[in-house]
Subunit: 335 residues, 2 copies
DNA sequence: TTGTATGCGTTATCAC
DNA sequence: GTGATAACGCATACAA
């Protein structure tokens, strides 16, 4: 697999390699029509393919970006990635994906690798632990965009759901339907932005309605222990009449609990989940959800990153909030 | 963001860049302990990061692979990608993902880009249309592994489900439960490997059981028209008693149909689906599925590719079949 | 219009 | 043990 270079093409076409380079970069003004044709021929005959690596070394642009996320298996991440890849493809960029698994040292390793690979920019769903590294990049003016999670004091543009509003939508939908004892189910840790903000929004919304937000009703647990946690929650003297699942994974757990305990929804318990799970319509009864515009978020993140790469002006410290959307189905209606 | 190079490190440490290079590549035998220490210092103080691009240009290895698939939103692809990324990460490779959307020209464009980027190898869920390009790569001995789909006459190692067996499992499960009129629901086109083979397996399995496989019972349609197609199927003089969904997307359609027409499962209609959908346990009744080991497939694909890259012996023309697994739930039991 | 020379940041081959 | 120096494949300023 001997590689054919620009020199081979030049020889074949009987010109110098600069001329070929001109041709390859579309600067046709600088050559005769016949030369151009000869080069075209030579390129085809030799099956020549420019070596992007060499070009990158020279131009200091790789036309590649890196995306660091927790886990591509999460449907939000998958959608974000898909949207990012779409706009990148359109702009001639390619994307390297990195599953950091919410592991700071893995995240750090990926950042280092991406930088060593000279990627033109990075989109990340960051953990809080590499804040120093991110800060250094920011100081160097390195193109960087965050998604889903905000890191305080870093001033990096971030694309995220309007989490408080999403939680408020849940609460309002339930109170409108007459529910008063409303609990929230969340995964741990609760410190990451979306969970934190949704819990805040939940509390505020309850207060707005003149309801008290007791800590008892905020049920947090790691995924594996969620069934136990739910059992405790429902064993309170005053068990909730409705539960808000903070994201799709929690929602799955909640539904499993409902099913195993043969609770009637919404009769025994109303439920509503943030994130639009694929089978919301298929469940019995259909599930009310708050959808977040994952594709929009991904698209805008990619667009912003590319703008930064191109050195166009992008307001940094710019947290863009995306609107949640209530999809009303039967699981939250009046019982 | 002025880049600090190996030369800066050399100056700082008071040695030549060759020595630094030695150091960076771990050939410590060729230097004194003090030099080594000085270089280490210099690297840290300058925050030096080797430029992988330059290294790649010299070594003709990028430690990067490309993965071309139809759509990362499909759960099979997502799992495969995740597994690939895992083993690549462990081996120091990074992965560029490409959503070709089953569009041959997009696929071709991605292949060209990946080659231009000098990726060390490619894993693809190929369309049939770029067979010539793939053949050329194969002839050049370029590291290439296929997943999910087999291309006849190309002799490229392929990792895929034992599709016929999967279909047979469905049929057997249903006949064991007394069903005789068994239909199959599939997306179009039916020419791609998994669909084709599953349909074959379905036919054979029926014959094995002494049942006739009528064309009437093989319902194929694009996703959007599947509801109509199902209506037709169920309107036959002899409608099926059971339907096998050929993959998760078809299965979703089938379940939607069931729900909208308030059919009782498995009383009115037994159902079973290939691919393990996430809510199989949550549906009412729980859904019998045939799971395919997507992670294993991805892992083995990546392992095989890396072996090829390292020039270790890999049997090509080696189609590795992975075992489907029946997860028996209520939707296929005796009515 | 086309050609020459130089550099991008590394690695590798040899001298010293 | 260490240091020049020549590649790697391409882009570009400048000369012709």
């Amino acid at each position: 697999m001997k590689t054919v270079t620009i020199i081979d093409v030049a020889k074949r076409a009987g010109v110098s390699k600069s001329t070929v380079s001109q041709y390859l970069n579309g600067r046709y003004e600088y050559m005769g029509a016949d030369t151009r044709e000869r080069i075209k021929q030579a390129v085809e005959e030799l099956g020549y393919r420019p070596n992007t690596i060499a070009r990158s070394l020279k131009k200091k642009k790789t036309k590649t970006i890196g995306v660091i996320l927790a886990n591509i298996l999460y449907s939000f991440s998958t959608k974000v990635i898909r949207a990012i890849e779409d706009v990148c493809n359109r702009e001639g960029y390619q994307v390297i994906i990195c599953n950091a698994d919410d592991n700071p040292s893995k995240e750090k390793w990926y950042i280092e690798m991406l930088l060593a690979k000279q990627v033109d920019g990075i989109i990340a769903i960051p953990t809080k632990s590499n804040i120093d590294l991110y800060r250094k990049l920011k100081e160097r003016n390195y193109p960087l965009v965050f998604v889903d999670r905000y890191i305080d004091g870093l001033d990096i543009s971030t694309m995220m759901l309007h989490n408080e509003k999403a939680a408020k939508m849940c609460v309002d939908e339930l109170t409108d339907n007459g529910y008063e004892r409303i609990a929230m189910l969340t995964m741990e840790p609760i410190s990451i932005t979306p969970r934190f903000e949704r819990i805040q929004g939940y509390k505020k919304a309850l207060e707005d309605k003149g309801l008290k937000a007791t800590e008892d009703y905020i049920a947090s647990a790691p995924l594996k222990e969620m069934q136990t946690r739910l059992k405790e929650l429902m064993a309170l003297k005053q068990p909730p009449q409705a539960i808000i699942a903070i994201n799709d994974l929690s929602f799955m757990q909640l539904l499993t609990f409902v099913k195993e305990n043969q609770l009637e929804v919404p009769g025994d318990l109303a439920v509503i989940g943030i994130d639009d799970i694929s089978f919301a319509d298929l469940f019995d009864p259909p599930l009310t959800t708050i959808a977040q515009p994952a594709f929009d978020i991904g698209r805008e993140a990619a667009a912003a990153l590319i703008q930064k790469i191109n050195n166009r002006y992008v307001m940094d410290a710019d947290i863009r909030r995306f609107e949640p959307r209530l999809i009303r189905r039967a699981s939250s209606t009046k019982s």
